[in-house]
Amino acid sequence: MLRAAWRIAWKDVVGDFRRRATLSSMLFFAIAVLVVFQAAFEPDRQEATRLLPGLLWVTVLFTSLVGLGRVFQAEEEDGALEGLLLSPMPRGVLFLGKWWGNLTLTILVELMLVPLLMVLFNVNLWQRMPLIYGILLLGSLGLTGLGVLLAALTQGARSRETLLALLLLPLMVPLLIAGVQATGGILNGGEAGPWLRLMIIFDVVYLALAPWAFGWLMEE
């Protein structure tokens, strides 16, 4: 069962490297957000340290929209979604595959984003790096889980990407608050524990709900 999910994720990631290049779009979109942020606020080093958690999570959230807009693109172009739906596996497994594919791309972008932030805003995060990556991973599980489900909801809709943003951003408010607070707690010596717990609650709730919801959605 899980092998089938891995196959779908693998196909999406490899297909992306070979042809669709979502990864580089996401990366350059993230850089563009950072440029906009710098141009709008011109933070000095002290301000940059204070604003960093918010900047990091806003960039991750916006960048995820670029990737999520394309989750079902290959299937739409080739009419391959029917093929996937016909294959003898539960719909939940299909969801897991699409989710893992998107999660992989998101994590790859985040791996490059943190060093970029350090360079562009001249802040030193070296000692906190593993913790920041840990929080990012925790947030990305829920972000991509709910995101892929919403991408499936809006699949085939008119002005799909606008709709996706309209639905995703308000629903992500809890994860955004928790992510920013936890990151801020780690960087500026505050409390991070309760916020990490909130992120885990968010992840567990949505990852439990999403495969079922995906099944209801794709029912014939």
Binding site: T154, G156, A157, P174, L198, F202, A213
Partner: protein, 226 residues
């Protein structure tokens, strides 16, 4: 459902008449003066915004579980009603907030949650209208209703927590002393009137949606005859 529409309309008119009479004859608040009267609209519409969401959550579950077209119709009919109640809640709260707190808006837990609820209602309507296939549109909307039903408590919880951990609450709603009986009667009357109003509006919208669906079904048939 069509037969209920007339009686529901008259009941709404009566209940709102009685409610408004009680509101206008109630004594003004010792501290807040006459501006307290907006609470008699604000509190019931806030409750209705949530109650309508509860209603569409149940309807969405029935729709997904039983594949009931009627439940889907009720979801579609109730979404704009909920949107209206949420918008009225935010508008009246803002009007009350300006003289009371000196600001139109505060990023308090309940305000933020209500704002997200409003966006969610708008998103539900947008999602349905953006999908061509009515069956898929209905199903996607119902799934989104469930996602929202799970998200709203988490949002409320996280914003409350965020505000209390980060800075002292800008005001306390639930901590105020118990409401006097003289103010409670009109509040209850208005709450009841708003429930009746909500039922009436949903019935009205349900009739409209049913008619439009029948029309669309007829239009789909037409080419085969002509």
């Amino acid at each position: 459902m069509g037969r209920l529409r007339g009686p529901a309309g008259w009941a709404t008119l009566g209940a709102l008449g009685v409610g408004l009479f009680l509101v206008l004859t109630a004594p003004a608040d010792f501290q807040q003066g006459n501006s307290v009267r907006i609470m008699y609209v604000h509190v019931p519409s806030a409750k209705m915004a949530l109650l309508v969401y509860l209603f569409i959550t149940i309807a969405a579950i029935v729709h997904l579980w039983r594949k009931s077209a009627r439940a889907d119709l009720l979801v579609e009919a109730a979404v704009p009603v909920g949107t209206a109640f949420a918008a009225v809640t935010l508008a009246t709260g803002s009007i009350w907030g300006k003289p009371m707190w000196g600001a139109w808006w505060a990023w308090d837990a309940r305000l933020t949650s209500m704002l997200v609820l409003l966006i969610l209602y708008v998103g539900l309507a947008a999602l349905r209208s953006a999908l061509e296939d009515p069956v898929k549109a209905g199903r996607a909307t119902s799934v989104l209703v469930l996602i929202g039903a799970v998200d709203l408590p988490i949002i409320h919880f996280s914003v409350t927590w965020w505000r209390t951990l980060h800075q002292p609450a800008s005001f306390k709603g639930s901590g105020t002393p118990a409401i006097e009986g003289a103010l409670l009667t009109p509040l209850l009357a208005m709450s009841l009137a708003f429930v009746v109003l909500g039922i009436y509006l949903v019935l009205l919208r349900a009739g409209l949606v049913a008619d439009r669906r029948r029309l669309e079904a007829l239009e789909m048939e037409e080419p085969t005859h002509g």
